[in-house]
C-alpha cells in the first residue's frame, strides 16, 4: 500500500517538474523593433532626399536603388558604420531613436 502511494507521489512530482520546465514559445518580434525598422528607413530616406548625407558615405551602397532606400541587411551594416556619424547636428543613432520614439507620428523636418 505504501509503495503504491509512493509511486503515485513520484508520478505527481514528475508531472509537476515537467510543468515547471515547460517553456512558452519565443514571443513574436515586438512592436519596438518594427517601429525602429520603419523609423530608420524614413530617417535615411529623409536625409538622402534633402542631400544631408555626403556623397562619399553613399558610394556603392547597394541598399540605395536610384534615390530609394531599400530595407535590407546591407542597410543594417551601413547604419552600424555610421551610428555615431553626425548629420545635421545629430548622430544617426539619435535620429533613429527620436523617430522611433515618435513613430508613427515622425515627419522629416526639412
Amino acid at each position: 500500500m505504501t509503495t503504491t502511494r509512493l509511486a503515485v507521489l513520484a508520478m505527481c512530482a514528475l508531472v509537476l517538474l515537467s510543468a515547471c520546465t515547460e517553456r512558452k514559445p519565443p514571443p513574436p518580434v515586438n512592436d519596438e523593433v518594427k517601429k525602429r525598422d520603419a523609423a530608420l528607413v524614413a530617417v535615411v530616406q529623409c536625409l538622402v532626399d534633402h542631400d544631408r548625407i555626403p556623397a562619399a558615405h553613399l558610394e556603392h551602397q547597394p541598399w540605395l536603388k536610384g534615390e530609394k532606400v531599400q530595407p535590407s541587411a546591407e542597410l543594417v551594416t551601413w547604419r552600424s558604420d555610421h551610428e555615431e556619424t553626425v548629420y545635421e547636428g545629430k548622430t544617426l543613432q539619435a535620429w533613429e531613436d527620436e523617430a522611433t520614439a515618435a513613430w508613427p507620428g515622425w515627419r522629416c523636418p526639412f
Partner: protein, 660 residues
C-alpha cells in the same frame, strides 16, 4: 602497339628489386653526396640529382609493372609456382617460362593501375568476402607505392572508381565480433588514402590545369547507391586535411541527402537480434560504424569542406536544417520483443538503447564558421554558414518549442555566438533581412553575418538553456568591454561597439526571462559569470594590440579580438581563482566588471597615457588596486577620445546592464 620482347619473369623481378635498392640508396645518400662534393670544391653540378632520383623511382614503378605483367603472362601459359615433378614427393617450386611482353605498353604504371582496377572489379563482383580479401591482398601495397603517381591514380580510379567506393559492403564480416578483419581494414585504409590523394591531384599545366578526377568521375563516386560504404572510406581514410575539400563537401551533401531521404546509412544488420543484449550490441555497432558521422568528422577536420556545404547561399540553409536537429542518435530498438507476454502483451514501445551521435555534428558546425576573418572567399562562406546556422536553429526553435537540441549541437551554437559577437551585436536592433556581406558594404572590409532579430531570438532560445550557460555567456560579453572600448576608438568608421554589445546583452536578458529561473539558480549564473570574468582577468583583459591602427587589417583584427572564444577549459581551475572569487565583495566586483576593462580599453587604444611610474599598470596591463581607484577618481572628468572617463564607464555599465 609497342615492341614485343622475350623476358624471363624471374630475372626481371630480380632486376626490379636491385633497381629499387639502388633508388633507395640514392634517395637516402643523395643529399650527403651533394654536400660532400660541395665541401671538396667539386665543379660538378648536382642540380639535376634530385630530378634523376625522382626519375629512378618512376623506372622502379615501370619495371614493377612489367614484372607483374610477365608473371601474369606466365600464368596464362599454364605455369604455376608450385607443381608436381615426376619422382619428387609433394609440390616443388618451378621457374616461370620466358614470355613475350609489350615492353612499352606494360611499362606504364598507368597500365598497372588499370589492371589493379580490373582485379578489384572482379574481386568485388564475386561478392564473397573471403575470396575478395585473398584476391586483393597485394592491392594495399600497390596503392601505397603509387600514392603520388598520377598515371597510376588516373587509370585506377577511372577503372574502379564507383565500385571501389562500395568495397566496404563486400568486405565486411558476416559473423564474428568485428565488422572488418585486419586485411579488410588494410584494404579500406589504402583505398581511402589513395582516393584522398587522387582527389587533390591536378593534371596539365597553366590554363590546361584540371583536377585528375573529373567532375563526372567525382559524381559517380560520391553519388553511389551505397552511402554507408563510401562513408567507410572516409572513416578509414586519412585526416580531413589530406582530402580535396570539394570531394568531401560533395560526399557530405550526399550523405545528408541520403539520410534525409530515409536511405540505408547504417552498417548491414547481421540477422535479427535474438536477445536484448544482441540488440544493444547492434546499436553500438551502428554508432561505431556511423558513416554520416565519419564523413562529417573528415569534413570538419578539413574546415573548407564544411564551409562549402553550409556556406552556399543556395543550398547551405537546407543542410544546416538537417544538422541542427535532435535526430543525431542511432534508431534504438523496440524492447517489447524481448519481454515476456505477461509483462508486455503487445504493441510497439518507445525505442530504447539509442546511442548519441551528435559529436561530429558539433565539430562540423564549429568548423563551418571558423575561417579566418577577412575578405577571402573562405571568409565569405564562413559568414554565410553563420547566417544559415542561426536561421536553421530559429526554425527548429519555432517548430519544436519544447525540444532541447543535443548538448554537442548546443555547445557548437554557443561557439558560433562567441565567435561572431560583433556580427550579432550589429544585427540585433533590426529585423529587415539576413545575409552575409562585407562590413559597411565596402570591398576592403571583412565578411560579416547579418541576421534578423527574430532569428537571433530563436537561436538563443535554443543555444542557452541552463543558468550557468547564461552566466558564462554574459561573462564572456562583459570580458569584451575593454576590447569594445578600444575598438570603438580605433575603428575608422563611426561604429559604437559598446552600444551594440549592449543591445545584444538586452536580447540575452529577454531570452533568459522566458525561462523564469528560480532564485537559487540565479546564484549559479552569477558564479559562472564571475568565473569567466576572473579567468579573463587573470589572463589579461582583451587581446587587442594594434600594429597599424588605420591599416586595412584593423577591422579584421577588431572582429577577431571581440570574438576570441573564452569558453574553454581554463574556466574553473586553480584554488587561487576560487579564493579570489569568494573573497570579492560587491564593490570590488563592480570595479572588476567595468572600471578595469574600460581603462584597459582606453590604454589599448592609446587614448590614455599613464606616467611611466604609475603603479596600477604593469607591462601594458591594468592592475586593479587602490592606486587605480585613486587614479579613476582624480580623472573622472578628463576627456579621452572625445568622452569623459565617467561617460565611458557609464556607457559600459549601461551596455552590460550593471547600473546599481
Amino acid at each position: 602497339m609497342g615492341e614485343f620482347v622475350g623476358v624471363d619473369p624471374e630475372n626481371l623481378k630480380e632486376l626490379t628489386k636491385r633497381l629499387e635498392h639502388l633508388h633507395d640508396l640514392l634517395a637516402r645518400q643523395g643529399p650527403a653526396i651533394h654536400q660532400k662534393m660541395q665541401k671538396w670544391g667539386s665543379e660538378l653540378s648536382f642540380a639535376s640529382l634530385s630530378r634523376l632520383i625522382a626519375a629512378a623511382l618512376d623506372d622502379v614503378r615501370d619495371m614493377d609493372a612489367r614484372t607483374t605483367r610477365a608473371y601474369e603472362l606466365a600464368r596464362e601459359q599454364g605455369w604455376s609456382v608450385m607443381t608436381r615433378a615426376p619422382g619428387v614427393l609433394g609440390p616443388v617450386f618451378t621457374r616461370p617460362p620466358v614470355v613475350r611482353l609489350d615492353w612499352e605498353a606494360t611499362g606504364w604504371s598507368g597500365d598497372q593501375g588499370r589492371r589493379d582496377a580490373e582485379a578489384l572489379t572482379a574481386a568485388l563482383a564475386a561478392k564473397d568476402p573471403e575470396a575478395a580479401r585473398a584476391a586483393l591482398s597485394t592491392l594495399p601495397e600497390h596503392l601505397e607505392r603509387h600514392l603520388a603517381d598520377k598515371d597510376y591514380q588516373a587509370a585506377f580510379w577511372a577503372g574502379a572508381g564507383p565500385l571501389a567506393v562500395q568495397a566496404a559492403r563486400t568486405l565486411y564480416n558476416r559473423t564474428g565480433p568485428a565488422l572488418f578483419s585486419a586485411e579488410s581494414v588494410g584494404i579500406l585504409r589504402a583505398l581511402g588514402a589513395s582516393l584522398a590523394a587522387a582527389s587533390r591531384m591536378r593534371v596539365g599545366t597553366g590554363k590546361e590545369s584540371r583536377p585528375l578526377l573529373s567532375t563526372a568521375a567525382r559524381d559517380a563516386m560520391t553519388r553511389g547507391s551505397d552511402p554507408w560504404s563510401a562513408g567507410m572510406l572516409a572513416k578509414y581514410g586519412p585526416d580531413g586535411r589530406s582530402w580535396d575539400p570539394r570531394l568531401l563537401a560533395d560526399l557530405t551533401r550526399t550523405m545528408l541527402d541520403a539520410r534525409a531521404a530515409g536511405k540505408t546509412i547504417w552498417p548491414p544488420a547481421r540477422g535479427e537480434a535474438e536477445t536484448d543484449t544482441g540488440a544493444t550490441r547492434h546499436q553500438r555497432l551502428m554508432a561505431e560504424f556511423d558513416a554520416v558521422g565519419a564523413v562529417l568528422r573528415r569534413a570538419a577536420e578539413n574546415g573548407v569542406a564544411a564551409r562549402h556545404v553550409l556556406g552556399d547561399p543556395a543550398t547551405g540553409l537546407r543542410y544546416a536544417r538537417m544538422l541542427v536537429s535532435d535526430s543525431w542518435h542511432t534508431p534504438g530498438y523496440d524492447p517489447g520483443r524481448f519481454l515476456s507476454s505477461y509483462v508486455h502483451p503487445g504493441g510497439a514501445l518507445p525505442p530504447v538503447g539509442r546511442v548519441d551521435l551528435s559529436t561530429p555534428v558539433g565539430a562540423f558546425l564549429k568548423a563551418a564558421v571558423s575561417a579566418e576573418r577577412g575578405t577571402s572567399a573562405d571568409a565569405e562562406e564562413s559568414a554565410w554558414s553563420v547566417v544559415h546556422i542561426v536561421q536553421a536553429t530559429a526554425d527548429f526553435a519555432r517548430l519544436h518549442p519544447q525540444t532541447v537540441l543535443p548538448n554537442q549541437v548546443r555547445q557548437a551554437l554557443i561557439y558560433v555566438a562567441g565567435r561572431h559577437l560583433p556580427d550579432f551585436a550589429q544585427s540585433v536592433n533590426h529585423d529587415f533581412a539576413s545575409g552575409a556581406l562585407q562590413q559597411g558594404n565596402k570591398p576592403s572590409n571583412p565578411w560579416v553575418a547579418i541576421n534578423k532579430l527574430d532569428e537571433l531570438e530563436g537561436f538563443f532560445m535554443q543555444a542557452l538553456q541552463k543558468p550557468e550557460e547564461f552566466g558564462v555567456f554574459k561573462g564572456l560579453m562583459a570580458s569584451r568591454v575593454s576590447t569594445a572600448v578600444a575598438a570603438t576608438i580605433q575603428d575608422p568608421s563611426d561604429r559604437n561597439y559598446l552600444r551594440e554589445m549592449g543591445g545584444l546583452f538586452g536580447l540575452i536578458q529577454r531570452v533568459e526571462n522566458t525561462h523564469h529561473f528560480e532564485k537559487e539558480l540565479r546564484a549559479d549564473e552569477e558564479a559562472a559569470r564571475d568565473q569567466v570574468l576572473l579567468a579573463t582577468a587573470s589572463g589579461g583583459f582583451g587581446a587587442l594590440s594594434f600594429s597599424n591602427p588605420f591599416g586595412p587589417g584593423t577591422m579584421a583584427e577588431i572582429m577577431t579580438a571581440l570574438a576570441t572564444p573564452a569558453l574553454n577549459d581554463t574556466l574553473d581551475t586553480g584554488h587561487a581563482l576560487k579564493a579570489l572569487k569568494a573573497d570579492m565583495d560587491a564593490s570590488r566586483r563592480q570595479v572588476f566588471q567595468v572600471e578595469v576593462p574600460v581603462v584597459q580599453g582606453l590604454l589599448d587604444a592609446g587614448a590614455v597615457h599613464p606616467p611611466p611610474d604609475a603603479p596600477w599598470v604593469r607591462g601594458g596591463r591594468v592592475i586593479p588596486d587602490a592606486a587605480l581607484v585613486d587614479w579613476i577618481s582624480l580623472h573622472a572628468d578628463t576627456r579621452y577620445a572625445g568622452k569623459t572617463l565617467t561617460d565611458w564607464i557609464t556607457d559600459a555599465q549601461t551596455a552590460m546592464r550593471m547600473q546599481q
